[in-house]
């Protein structure tokens, strides 16, 4: 008799574990309702949109309900709800390069082609070509790019000055020597920091890869992560962190952890997306706000080739019963006014007119605006392998990064990664 409750609670618990892959959200009604349900990621962009929201609600007569989540939680949320065909998301903020292909292939994203063409004043032609391509699937527009990103070099002006370094490094070799010098002159401060997590580091590593002359995928859908250039890039990135990075460095760092080390004053150089610069220059968040400088991504053997990508876009859930109002929200949130307002508060947008408007870069630190200008010129349009199964691909091509950081042989690891990556590519192209 005594055993019974245990058995029942156990079976319930087990069922809960089992149900994980089978569960789904219920359908919320609201066909053509006055409430637009918007799911957004944690981002400065989102904060700005939330602040400006009353204006939109007043002029449109609609009510906007915002759900705000971290990147990973956002992905999980979409996987569960969109899989179940739930209609309780109308507008979704998504990452064209991360989930775009998968979502479009699954039919989760509504076709917006007619909407973008019909909205003349809003001007679809104003959006940069690269970002537009990444939110287009099989000639159909499935998303409107909101935020673009370029990789730049963050550095500490004061530490460089102290070590007698006049200018920020122009090449990766200089970066290495300078990092070593600053670390030697300042015990307890690392020369260099960057993301170290297997999957998280891939995007920031990509600029190193391109600048060494490598690519993730070569001609004819051949995996290319074991090319000589790629092997050199892996060894360089891993070596830089291993030799000149923080002591006892964890291999789980994404940008919040790496940024924390930089803004706590514990590192001299940091390569990261420019769209996060406010974290470093905001006095409330950063101890080094006054001394942070920005420079274009240092050149490797193949020149300076940072990524220049659309990191976020807005799409409409295909299962939404409120598509017209969802489009109204997107139209407002990606309007020239909102893009300009956002860009002025530090979020790089995708509209050409805003970039060419002097007001668009008026609030940027001068050196950052210059660095971004360089990146947009010679940038590469992707920062991760362009496949459907991006999360899996990132883990594969990211393995040599962590192996290099922990002192294993990056070349052998790159060969193993290449084989696994080729298998994934073959599977997808079947």
């Amino acid at each position: 008799m005594r055993r019974q409750p245990v058995v029942i609670s156990t079976s319930l618990a087990v069922v809960a574990a089992l149900g994980m892959s089978a569960c789904g959200g219920g359908d919320g009604g609201g066909s053509g309702s006055k409430t637009v349900r918007v799911t957004l990621a944690n981002h400065v962009w989102t904060d700005n949109i939330k602040k400006a929201l009353p204006e939109f609600e007043k002029q449109s007569g609609l009510k906007v309900e915002i759900t705000q989540l971290g990147e990973d939680q956002l992905s999980d949320q979409y996987n569960v709800k969109l899989n179940a065909g739930s209609s309780d998301i109308d507008v979704m903020m998504y990452r064209p390069l991360q989930e775009g292909k998968l979502f479009a292939k699954n039919g989760y994203l509504a076709d917006l082609t007619d909407d973008v063409k019909a909205s003349k004043d809003w001007n679809w032609g104003d959006f940069q070509q690269g970002p537009v391509q990444s939110s287009t699937y099989k000639d159909k527009v499935v998303g409107v790019p909101t935020i673009t990103e370029q990789e730049v070099l963050y550095y500490r002006k004061d530490l460089l000055k102290k070590s007698g370094i006049a200018n920020p490094p122009k090449t990766l070799d200089e970066l290495k020597t300078d990092a070593a010098k600053v670390a030697k002159d300042n015990p307890g401060v690392a020369g260099f920091v960057a993301r170290t997590g297997k999957s998280a580091a891939v995007t920031q590593f990509s600029s190193f890869l391109y600048s060494f002359g490598g690519e993730f995928i070569g001609d004819g859908d051949k995996a290319a992560v074991n090319s000589d250039a790629a092997k050199q890039a892996y060894a360089f990135y891993g070596g830089l962190i291993r030799d000149h990075g923080p002591k006892n460095v964890s291999t789980d760092m994404s940008w919040p952890e790496a940024m924390a080390i930089f803004t706590q004053g514990k590192a001299a150089f940091y390569t990261e997306a420019d769209s996060l610069y406010k974290n470093a220059t905001d006095k409330a968040k950063s101890k080094v706000a006054d001394t942070v400088g920005f420079a274009p991504f240092p050149a490797g053997p193949a020149g300076s080739k940072p990524y220049n990508v659309p990191s976020w876009a807005l799409g409409v859930n295909e299962a939404s019963k409120n598509k017209d109002n969802a489009w109204k929200f997107i139209q407002w949130a990606t309007s020239k006014e909102q893009t300009l307002a956002n860009q002025k508060s530090g979020v790089p947008g995708a509209r050409t007119s805003v970039w060419s408007d002097p007001e668009g870069t008026s609030t940027y630190p001068k050196d950052l605006a210059a660095a971004i200008a360089v990146s947009t010129q010679n940038g590469v349009g992707h920062d991760r392998p362009l496949v459907v199964k991006v999360p899996e691909a990132r883990e594969i091509v990211g393995q040599p990064i962590v192996d290099a950081i922990t002192g294993k042989d990056p070349a052998a690891s790159a060969d193993a990664a290449n084989e696994a990556f080729q298998k994934l590519l073959d599977d997808e192209n079947k």
């Binding site: 005594r2 055993r3 245990v6 609670s9 156990t10 079976s11 319930l12 618990a13 087990v14 069922v15 574990a17 089992l18 149900g19 994980m20 892959s21 089978a22 569960c23 990973d72 992905s75 999980d76 996987n79 969109l82 899989n83 065909g85 998968l102 292939k105 699954n106 039919g107 989760y108 170290t196 997590g197 297997k198 999957s199 923080p246 002591k247 006892n248 460095v249 964890s250 291999t251 789980d252 994404s254 924390a260 080390i261 706590q264 514990k266 459907v388 199964k389 999360p391 899996e392 883990e395 990211g398 393995q399 962590v402 922990t406």
Partner: protein, 309 residues
């Protein structure tokens, strides 16, 4: 509902539905419970079993083909992710369970006899239990951070070099098990304490008169009498520990870290479904996981039954 039963039998004009309801009342009353079980237990399990036999990927609503046992064979042949995950699950559960039961027993024995301030001590000990596992994970992650964490600072004061803790390839799993011990030992204490207070006093008194030592009394009187409670504690805690997800995910993130240091079966299945969208394979892993839990439960209870008879 308003019509009483005797009236039903006598009156001819009773509506047909009421008569039908009366005839089928045993089904009618059990209906809600059965529907609940069907919707929330039978359907998810059956659906998972079905998915595990298909090549579902990308979206569960996409076209999929039945592939029979292919997923199971693939998973069972996978020595790079699946079997290491099984091993880690066993290791994590083993370490956590061992320390939780041993420590739990010690603390329960200390709290057994009344003492001054007993109430306060009990409350303090139970605190970790009521904290949210994700919050606990975040807290320990901060404390154990290799560069700016408090733990290494304390070690530095006494001259011990900083440890990698959660960041180390070899130390991460043990560290997460330690966090689990920190959080869940109080639960074991609670269960054992309940068992201890229910024990009769007489055997102890008799043993005391016979001049036994404290250890002898514990080993030959308390422990055997407490055994049923210990088994319950092991069973409850073991099943919970095997399924641990929150602490592992909160401290190491996706895939249990860059080297899958803490990737147990649960974390692996989560990654398969939510990162890789491999719903077929994920379901197969979950079904195997289900069988492992049932198997170990059965083994534990069977041993217990043997001991009793």
């Amino acid at each position: 509902m308003a019509t009483s039963a005797p009236a039903l039998r006598t009156s001819v004009s009773t509506p047909a539905w009421a008569r039908w309801a009366n005839d089928h009342r045993k089904w009618l009353f059990a209906g809600p419970a059965m529907a609940f079980v069907a919707v929330l237990i039978v359907f998810p399990v059956a659906w998972t079993v079905y998915l595990s036999l298909t090549d579902a990927e990308g979206s569960v609503r996409a076209e999929k083909e039945l592939t029979g046992a292919a997923n199971y064979l693939d998973v069972l042949a996978d020595t790079s992710r699946f079997w290491p995950a099984v091993l880690r699950t066993v290791e994590f559960t083993g370490i956590a369970l061992f320390f939780e039961v041993v420590l739990g027993m010690c603390i329960a024995l200390l709290l057994w006899r009344p003492f001054r301030g007993e109430k306060w001590v009990r409350v303090a000990i139970l605190l970790p239990l009521v904290a949210t596992p994700v919050a606990v994970g975040m807290m320990w992650r901060l404390i154990l951070d290799p560069n700016i964490g408090f733990a290494n600072q304390v070690l530095g004061w006494v001259g011990i070099p900083p440890q990698p803790w959660l960041a180390g390839e070899g130390s991460a799993l043990v560290t997460t098990a330690f966090i689990d011990v920190w959080q869940w030992t109080p639960m074991v204490v609670l269960i054992l304490l309940a068992g201890l207070t229910a024990l009769p006093e007489e055997p102890h008194e008799a043993a005391l008169v016979d001049g036994t030592t404290g250890w002898q009394r514990f080993r030959f009187i308390t422990l055997p009498m407490l055994m049923p409670t210990v088994v319950v504690a092991i069973l409850l805690r073991g099943i919970d520990a095997i399924k641990t997800f929150d602490i592992l995910y909160a401290t190491k993130g996706k895939g249990g870290g860059s080297f899958h240091e803490v990737e147990t079966l649960n974390v692996y299945a989560y990654g398969l479904s939510f990162d890789y969208n491999e719903y077929g394979v994920a379901s197969a892993v979950l079904i195997l996981f289900f069988l492992i839990i049932i198997g170990s439960m059965w083994a534990l209870t069977a041993r217990r039954r043997e001991e009793l008879s």
